[in-house]
């Protein structure tokens, strides 16, 4: 059964140095508040897993939290490069970053296989592409009926999955709507999970009979963090702050400007600051 906790408690209890962690959210519902909490708590040697490492992972990498990144597209979508990620890969700053690189299709299949408790996923992938030459975790499997040779990738089974969702009910069930990404799969594939939510409600009320809900018994800890996906967005709560994504390019370009921004906006802040950032009524500090 999910435990309600403060975000700092939830991260302290469930994310350890050296863990593999998937912070997922496909443009929508990116768990920024939880990622910032991991930075503040000084986590090290993480294996970061994420299909689309963007600003949040740029921040974690730039702050030296990660030793490895498993991913399929690393950029600031619609804007350009992730300068902190590039600095780590190209110059080893602040530390070297090992890459395990896949395609979206392979990552999505690997999460699906992880949720389904399979050791690998088979897909029609990477035909004619070079990635299998440089990633030993891209192999083949032969269909026992047709003899066709398919691509195989290992299932993703993270130690911890961290996601942001729309709401939880008092029993700890979690509702997600809109762009779903791979969050449900990430939680079901992980050993532990932390879910931040916009709000807790008595009852989800009228909804589709097929609503995407993670039952309480699939989630380890829930923390209420209004605005916790800012500057990404939460369907029905607040919009994506595209201006910040555009601004990040200049902030992250140089090590100094990055460090100054992180000190002011992450290290000196807390989860309670997200509501105001997202333009929501702040409900006072939570930490």
């Amino acid at each position: 059964m999910a435990v309600f906790a403060s975000l700092s408690e939830a991260v302290a209890a469930n994310l350890r140095d050296g863990d593999s962690v998937a912070m997922e959210g496909f443009t929508h519902l990116i768990p920024y508040a939880a990622g910032h909490e991991a930075i503040r708590q000084g986590r090290r040697d993480l294996t970061l897993i994420r299909m689309t490492p963007d600003i949040l992972y740029d921040q974690l990498i730039g702050m030296g939290c990660a030793r490895k990144l498993k991913f399929s597209w690393g950029g600031n979508p619609g804007v350009g490069s992730l300068h902190r990620m590039r600095d780590a890969v190209e110059n080893g700053w602040p530390r070297a970053l090992e890459l395990e690189e896949h395609s979206h299709a392979a990552m999505a299949n690997a999460y699906d296989a992880g949720a389904a408790n399979l050791p690998f996923a088979a897909l029609r992938g990477y035909v004619g592409a070079d990635l299998p030459k440089v990633n030993p975790n891209i192999r083949t499997v032969t269909c026992p009926f047709t003899g066709e040779v398919l691509t195989a990738v290992p299932a993703i089974r993270p130690d911890v999955a961290i996601i942001h969702a729309l709401k939880a009910d008092r029993a700890g069930n979690v509702l997600i709507e809109g762009i779903l990404g791979v969050q449900k799969e990430a939680v079901l594939a992980a050993s532990r999970s932390i879910v931040t939510v916009e709000e807790v409600v008595d009852d989800f009320g009228p909804r589709s009979p097929n609503a995407t809900i993670l039952p309480s018994w699939t989630v380890t800890a829930i923390a209420v963090v209004p605005g916790g996906a800012f500057p990404s967005y939460a369907h029905g709560y607040y919009k994506r702050n595209n201006a910040f994504y555009l601004a990040w390019d200049a902030i992250a370009r140089e090590r100094d400007s990055f460090a100054a921004w992180m000190t002011e906006n992450v290290l000196a802040k807390g989860p309670g600051d997200f509501a105001a950032l997202a333009g929501l009524r702040s409900e006072g500090p939570r930490s």
Partner: protein, 257 residues
């Protein structure tokens, strides 16, 4: 009265024209969703746009900055989870047209968005493939839009992120692919199509004002020109006004907080 099309606008317009109302179009990260949406707002209102974030049949009023903006979901017929998108819809063979861009392309329309320099010690680390490797393999055909330049149109790719026609000829078929691969490359200077036999990209149409020499100067290999080289019909007022309105709406929306 309308100011003439810029080369970038001409590239987008040429791409939009090639789209049909019955296309099921998969728009990957970095791809010219401007072209797809221009087509939707002009001659192909019924076109189905799918973004890899899971939105199916989306009709955004502004261009998304990312492939997962809320606008895409709000206007979609429905939105599915990302594993389903890649498994049932892309690999399932439901996409008639994949739309790709890239940092680099070679004469067989293979694309690189991964690294410049050696993979383990890259000079430039690019974003990576995202959906491209499987979009290139599973879409019925692939359109590419890229601005020309010798650093983009290169003799030899340092890394093949997604296969176009490989080494040319029947290379795709030899790898078991039944899809057509890249069939049109829309640039800021011209339109290229693969030769039916060799699959080498061939310039089939020059945009108004562009010259053969300009194309040669901006291509890292010596490009072939079709015997019956055409001129791309100039942008119409309607194409330009719809495109510029779209960009204006988009800029206004994205600059907001």
């Amino acid at each position: 009265m309308t100011t003439p099309a810029t080369p970038t606008e001409m590239m987008t317009i040429a791409a939009a024209r090639a789209l049909r109302a019955d296309d099921i179009c998969f728009v990957g990260i970095g791809a010219p969703s401007a072209a797809c949406n221009l087509a939707r707002l002009t001659h192909a209102p019924g076109i189905t746009l799918i973004y890899e974030s899971g939105t199916i049949g989306t009709k955004p009023d502004i261009l998304p900055l990312s492939i997962g903006d809320g606008e895409l979901c709000d206007t979609a017929l429905t939105t599915v989870a990302v594993p389903e998108m890649f498994r049932y819809w892309l690999q399932g063979g439901r996409i008639t047209l994949g739309f790709l861009g890239g940092a680099q392309i070679d004469r067989f329309a293979n694309l690189n968005t991964t690294v410049v320099g050696p993979y383990d010690k890259p000079r430039v680390r690019l974003p990576g493939g995202g959906g491209a490797p499987e979009i290139a393999a599973h879409s019925g055909q692939v359109f590419v839009t890229m601005a020309m330049g010798t650093r983009a149109f290169v003799e030899k790719l340092p890394f093949i992120t997604s296969m176009g026609h490989g080494e040319g000829g029947d290379h795709r078929a030899r790898l078991g692919l039944k899809t057509r691969g890249p069939t049109r490359i829309m640039t800021d200077l011209c339109v290229m199509e693969p030769d039916p036999e060799s699959k080498e990209l061939t310039v089939v149409s020059l945009h108004p004002g562009a010259t053969r020499q300009e194309v040669r100067d901006n291509c890292g290999w010596t490009p072939r020109f079709a015997a019956n080289l055409a001129e791309t019909p100039p942008a119409t007022d309607r194409e330009l006004s719809v495109l510029r309105d779209l960009h204006a709406r988009t800029k206004k929306a994205h600059s907001g907080g």
